[in-house]
């Protein structure tokens, strides 16, 4: 049972605002991903929870107890660093046993716990190895075991797999998810990779400039981004800027009837919700490139104002470079000043060879 509550957390470094009025509630056993571009304050939030940075203001509570002023060694949190930070003068066993020794556990129990932790991360029998004899993935597993062996209430991971190759990253991500669910440990996972967040999280918190843009389940984040930033940050997204006039978003190549006030706005359409139909004569947009991904074809088109869009089409249809096409959106969202104004689907009457209601594709 561990519940993490963060209230109006702020952190200033001299004149830079690293974290600005950040609040979050993490339920027992939940895995929340902090997702955002580099410099958005993810690490700073995690480090404040771990006790490595002092908040400028705000509260951090674990199971209702305010831990904001406690030093890291007195907090029930366990941190896994991006650079694994294993102690190279100790072997794997001693790395994991160090925290247990500080707690003055009996020798036999330490041995039993360390071995169990090694088994848990799939490194049974690696205790006698030196840390530099391990691969990058194995080192991160040891770092994870080092934290888990102490049974922390909150597990904090700061881009733990960022320095590993794609394949390994995907495997470790699944293992972490597995272990986390088995132990039911409340976890905060920092990443700048959207695929990692989508694959791992019960809930994603999208950060920008130290502020929370949106906190929701992965599918909600993907299908109902509440800000233009989130729409552009998660998955692929087309943005078209134009004016709304008399209830219609008017762009020379794409007009959509929309329930919004007049004025400049940005229309967002996912590639899988953007269909193409062949246009007669010189009308429509120009196909710039067509990339075959096997399961689908991604067609890049250019609008008259120079905007480039991506449309996901079925492999049944070939689009040659230079071909003219007409855009047929099936689902859209309209943003003004980064805020969502309205989202909707275009009626079935504009029949399009689109992919229907936006499958989750990244």
């Amino acid at each position: 049972m561990a519940r993490l509550t963060i209230e109006s957390l702020r952190k200033f470094f001299a004149s830079t605002v690293a974290v600005d009025d950040f609040s979050l509630d993490v339920a027992d056993g939940e895995l929340v991903c902090l997702l955002g571009p580099s410099g958005s304050g993810k690490s700073t939030i995690l480090r404040m929870i771990g006790g490595f940075e002092q908040p400028t203001s705000g509260a951090i509570r674990i199971d209702g107890q305010d831990v904001g002023r406690l030093s890291p060694d007195r907090r029930p949190t366990g941190m896994v660093f991006q650079s694994h930070a294993l102690w190279s003068h100790m072997n794997v066993f001693n790395n994991i046993a160090f925290g247990l020794k500080l707690r003055h556990l009996p020798r036999a129990e330490i041995r039993r716990k360390v071995e169990a932790a090694l088994e848990l991360v799939g490194l049974g029998g690696y205790g006698h190895r030196q840390t530099f004899q391990l691969s990058g993935g194995q080192q991160q597993r040891v770092a994870l075991a080092r934290s888990l062996v102490l049974e922390p209430k909150i597990l904090l991971l700061d881009e733990p797999f960022a320095s590993l190759d794609q394949h390994l990253r995907e495997r470790l991500r699944e293992e972490v998810r597995d272990i986390q669910q088995r132990l039911g440990i409340t976890t905060l996972f920092v990443t700048h990779g959207q695929d990692e967040a989508l694959a791992l999280a019960d809930r994603i918190v999208v950060l920008r400039n130290g502020q929370c843009e949106q906190a929701d389940a992965p599918d909600v984040i993907y299908r109902n981004p509440q800000t233009q930033f989130v729409a552009g940050f998660i998955g692929q997204m087309n943005f078209i800027a134009a004016n709304v006039e008399g209830g219609t978003f008017r762009h020379p190549e794409m007009s959509v009837a929309i329930g919004a006030q007049d004025g400049p706005a940005v229309l967002a359409v996912r590639p899988e919700a953007l269909g193409l139909v062949a246009a007669e004569g010189g009308a429509g947009v120009t196909v710039v490139r067509s990339t075959d991904f096997g399961s689908h074809i991604m067609v890049d088109v250019e609008l008259s104002d120079g905007t480039r869009l991506k449309a996901m089409t079925s492999p049944a249809m070939r689009w040659e470079r230079g071909t003219r096409a007409r855009l047929v959106p099936s689902a859209y969202a309209l943003y003004r000043d980064n805020k969502l104004v309205v989202s909707g689907t275009v009626g079935a009457s504009t029949a399009a060879p689109a992919f229907g209601a936006a499958p989750l594709v990244v």
Binding site: F52, M79, H89
Partner: protein, 275 residues
């Protein structure tokens, strides 16, 4: 051993060879001469090789009580000075490397300042003060004067060593429940260990060979090995005494070198300097 090679062909690298030869002459020949003298009984001009080898002067030197006294004093002094220097400088070096406090840079400079003055002038000034404090010709007087000389080495190198320790490692130790002192003892010190060991070794050896301070403050009661050697050379025409003492004095630095080699061999020495 010096490997000579050229990048393009198998041609002999004359520049490298000459360089090696010159180095060998400059370093090895004086050593060889001193060694030879130490084991010589008769060696008259113009012979290239001594007329008579023998251990007579070794017996004579080693049977002198003042030699053993000086050796004992030297070892005690070096050990005390090194221990005190480590005790004072290592925590200070850690503070300089890791902490931010007002006047940090000024404080750091003051540690190094003792080496910015002409040394002998400083020593004379200190001697004048020691005279009033009744520290002249006492063991602790010499300890104090030699301690000042070790500060720079014992600060500068450990600061570099501590700065090279990954902060995340220290944070990870805090995270699993270690307090600041425990982190320093169990993580920082072992990580910086090889480099700090080298600094301690260098301090010990340089204190062992230190003469000016030991002579100025210690004379006449406290006589260290190097001071004794200078006396021998100044007062006696017999070269062999000096040569034998030189060889004896060479032993600690040789042992230190062997230790240092093992440390450097692990590559940790260079790592301590942030390489």
């Amino acid at each position: 051993m010096i490997r000579t090679y050229s990048s393009t062909s198998g041609r002999f690298d004359w520049t490298g060879f000459l360089f090696a030869v010159v180095l060998a002459i400059v370093i090895a020949v004086p050593l060889l001469v001193v060694f030879t003298w130490a084991f010589t009984e008769i060696w008259r001009y113009p012979a290239v090789i001594p007329q008579k080898f023998g251990l007579r002067f070794w017996n004579q030197t080693l049977s002198r009580a003042d030699v053993w006294d000086a050796l004992s004093i030297s070892l005690q002094l070096s050990a005390t000075v090194t221990a005190l220097s480590a005790l004072i400088c290592l925590p200070a070096a850690y503070a300089f490397a890791r902490m931010k406090f007002p006047g940090r840079d000024l404080f750091f400079l003051s540690f190094l300042a003792s080496h910015a003055f002409p040394k002998f002038g400083l020593l004379v000034a200190i001697a004048a003060i020691f005279l009033q404090l009744n520290l002249i010709a006492t063991f602790w007087g010499v300890v104090l004067i030699q301690l000042v000389g070790t500060l720079m080495l014992m600060i500068w190198i450990p600061v570099a060593a501590f700065q090279a320790v990954d902060r995340r490692m220290e944070e990870a130790a805090r995270d699993v429940g270690a307090g600041p002192l425990r982190v320093f003892w169990s993580i920082t010190l072992p990580q910086a260990g090889p480099t700090i060991f080298a600094a301690v070794l260098l301090t010990f050896v340089s204190t062992f060979y230190e003469t000016e301070g030991a002579w100025l403050i210690g004379a006449p009661q406290i006589r260290t090995m190097p001071v004794l050697m200078i006396n021998f050379i100044n007062n006696q025409v017999v070269i062999q005494y000096g040569a034998v003492l030189s060889v004896i004095l060479w032993v600690p630095s040789f042992i230190a070198l062997m230790f240092a080699r093992r440390v450097i061999g692990t590559g940790a020495f260079a790592k301590g300097f942030g390489a």
